[in-house]
């Protein structure tokens, strides 16, 4: 496919970010909140990696594939870095939620809240 109409990947990334912000703002369950952050990360990663795409180009690796233009390599490296970072963040978040659940016995952010004002 030479040209994908309507910048579909960019729009998908923007909508994914929008949906995840909806989850983060309105959902009360801590696990859902974490899913929201994970979706936000996926949206941003999709945006980053689709920035570097060139229509009809090869992967940026010198292999035996017949030559031609290559897609941009820096966004791919940035996405890789960002994916690993988000894995790390999610692991730590899940640990804290497990600890909160052990302490309070609930995952509802309204009920598990101790500090106010």
């Amino acid at each position: 496919m030479d040209y994908i109409p309507l910048d579909f990947p960019f729009l998908a990334a923007a909508l994914l970010v929008g949906i995840s912000f909806y989850i983060i703002i309105f959902k009360k369950n801590l696990t859902k909140l974490i899913m929201g952050v994970a979706m936000l990360a996926s949206g941003v990663n999709l945006f980053l990696v689709s920035l570097g795409y060139r229509a009809g180009a090869n992967a940026p690796i010198y292999t035996d594939v017949p030559g031609g233009p290559m897609v941009m390599s820096v966004p791919q490296a940035l996405t890789l870095t960002s994916i690993v970072i988000n894995v790390a963040v999610l692991a730590l978040m899940l640990t804290m939620v497990i600890r909160i659940y052990r302490h309070t016995g609930t995952l509802d952010s309204e009920k598990s809240r101790k500090m106010k004002g």
Binding site: A41, V44, L78, N86, V89, L92, M93, M96, H103, M115
Partner: protein
């Protein structure tokens, strides 16, 4: 020595990292050796920072290209834009690095006895060193994506350290709020980096600044970056996580978190002044910073009055004090591009704001440390339950008084010198700002006096019969910061000439920042 300084910038980031990777291994063998490793590496880093500061004051901006055949080779031979990651250290980054090195050293020494009875100490010190490396990276890097990576290092280690005392439920809640806010903020930063990268195919701040057009997409990127960094710095409309996270952390970590919010503030200034600079619609952005800064000052101090928890009380004051800096630098930003106004009061206002960062970085960690000392000895953070502690904890009481006088801007102390600089210059811009500043200052003094009275004065309470003075290392940690306050109090003009004005000029002079990357290549 000169050779060491060629690599100074990267060594300051890499040595804490190396020490952090070594700490778990050393900690398995001997706890004593581990503590020595932590303190020695941080002392060495502090020494390097001051040596590099001297080097920069002589030779100008320090540039270091990672992985190239020569550190000064910012762009590859026969090519126009930088490809590799470049560290760029100017006066402003240096000022931040100096205060970060002092506070982190004090915090590490303070921790030695503050967490002596807890488990998991090796991992605690590992994370502390990683946080130090992340902070230095944020201050030194000249690359947007690298800024994001170091921001994440600082915030993840910070979140884990906030939740260090796992036996309390509120620590987990504070740490969770901190990490969620950091994750959202840093992903917004990443989205903005993507927008800039899509248009200019560059990640270096200096190189981007040269070609940036201020298109609509650039404006959206600016909005995302500013929102993200002001959330992380605890500006008012989105400040609710701030006291929750700061009040539950171990006191030494709270002191360091104050500086990470300054580092986020520094990143916001770097974006405004060095990345967008003259292209910026300066009065609008300046006024936005001023208005929200005013709001921070007022909301912070009024909320603080009602707090009973000593750490929470100080956290709200931190929000309020951050407002002064936003106002000082915001006024400078509002007149950016107007050379006359900049010379009459803009530069002074910015100097005042930056000077206040330095002062706040000395007295606020000191106050948090004294709060931690009270918690360490009494086991409560509730001010209404404390009383008469000045009889038993003389040193803590004296250090608390120094911090209080400084934060309220009582004349001889350093808080006064920066506040008067802000008041005088901001008055010429808009008189209301000065009046609000003075009112907030009075409220600050009143609430701190009340807190001092309820914690230290009065008769000795029977339940605190066993309270003693805190251990020596905690006193030393606090004394380092108190010594900083005394030094600034005694030599304000020396500090302003040597550290503050170079920092303000480094922000104003966008051309110099760009030239260090793109011009003057050998």
């Amino acid at each position: 020595m000169a050779d060491l300084m060629t690599h100074g910038g990267i060594l300051i980031i890499a040595i804490p990292l190396l020490a952090a990777f070594l700490t778990p291994l050393v900690g398995m063998a001997s706890q004593r050796a581990r503590n020595i490793l932590v303190v020695v590496s941080l002392t060495f880093v502090a020494f390097l920072v001051f040596a590099l500061a001297r080097d920069i004051s002589i030779n100008g901006i320090h540039v270091y290209t990672l992985g190239a055949t020569s550190p000064e080779l910012t762009t590859p031979k026969g090519f126009i834009v930088p490809v590799r990651i470049i560290l760029e250290v100017d006066g402003m980054s240096m000022l931040m690095a100096m205060l970060w090195s002092i506070v982190s050293l004090a915090a590490a020494i303070f921790s030695l006895s503050h967490i002596a009875n807890e488990t998991g100490q090796s991992r605690f010190y590992t994370l502390l060193l990683l946080m130090v490396a992340g902070g230095f990276g944020m201050m030194f890097t000249g690359d947007l994506f690298n800024l994001f990576v170091f921001l994440e290092i600082a915030s993840i280690s910070g979140a884990a350290l906030i939740a260090y005392r796992t036996k309390f439920a509120d620590t987990q809640e504070g740490g969770f709020k901190y990490i969620v806010v950091s994750a959202i903020a840093s992903l917004m930063v990443l989205f903005a980096i993507g927008l800039l990268y899509a248009q200019y195919n560059l990640l270096n701040i200096g190189a981007l600044a040269e070609v940036i057009q201020y298109t609509t997409a650039d404006k959206i990127a600016l909005a995302l970056l500013l929102i993200a960094f002001t959330i992380k710095a605890g500006m008012v409309p989105l400040h609710l996580w701030f006291p929750d996270a700061y009040s539950v952390a171990p006191a030494s970590i709270t002191g360091m978190l104050v500086i990470t919010s300054h580092a986020c503030m520094y990143a916001a200034f770097r974006i405004c002044f060095s990345l967008y600079g003259t292209m910026l619609d300066a009065p609008v952005v300046g006024w936005i910073l001023i208005v929200f800064g005013l709001l921070s000052m007022f909301v912070g101090v009024t909320m603080a009055v009602f707090q009973k928890d000593v750490m929470r009380f100080m956290s709200y004051h931190a929000i309020s004090q951050l407002g002064y800096m936003w106002i000082g630098v915001g006024v400078g930003l509002a007149v950016l591009g107007n050379a006359d106004l900049m010379a009459t009061y803009g530069r002074d206002a910015m100097s005042g704001g930056i000077f206040h960062i330095l002062n706040h970085a000395m007295y606020k960690p000191l106050l948090f440390f004294t709060g931690g000392a009270l918690f360490h000895m009494t086991g409560t953070r509730d001010l209404t339950k404390m009383g008469g502690l000045a009889h038993k904890m003389k040193w803590t009481a004296i250090l608390y008084i120094i911090g209080t006088l400084s934060i309220s801007g009582i004349p001889p102390l350093n808080g006064f010198s920066s506040k008067i600089l802000i008041y005088e210059s901001v008055y010429q811009f808009n008189a209301i700002l000065t009046i609000t500043g003075i009112v907030v200052s009075i409220l600050t003094l009143a609430s701190f006096t009340k807190a001092f009275h309820s914690a230290f004065m009065g008769a000795e309470l029977p339940e605190y019969g066993k309270v003693r003075e805190v251990p020596k290392s905690m006193i030393i940690g606090m004394a380092i910061l108190a010594a900083g306050i005394v030094f600034i109090t005694l030599f304000p003009s020396l500090v302003v000439d040597w550290a503050i004005h170079p920092a303000a000029d480094a922000l104003i002079n966008q051309g110099g920042y760009i030239d260090a990357i793109t011009g003057a290549v050998p």
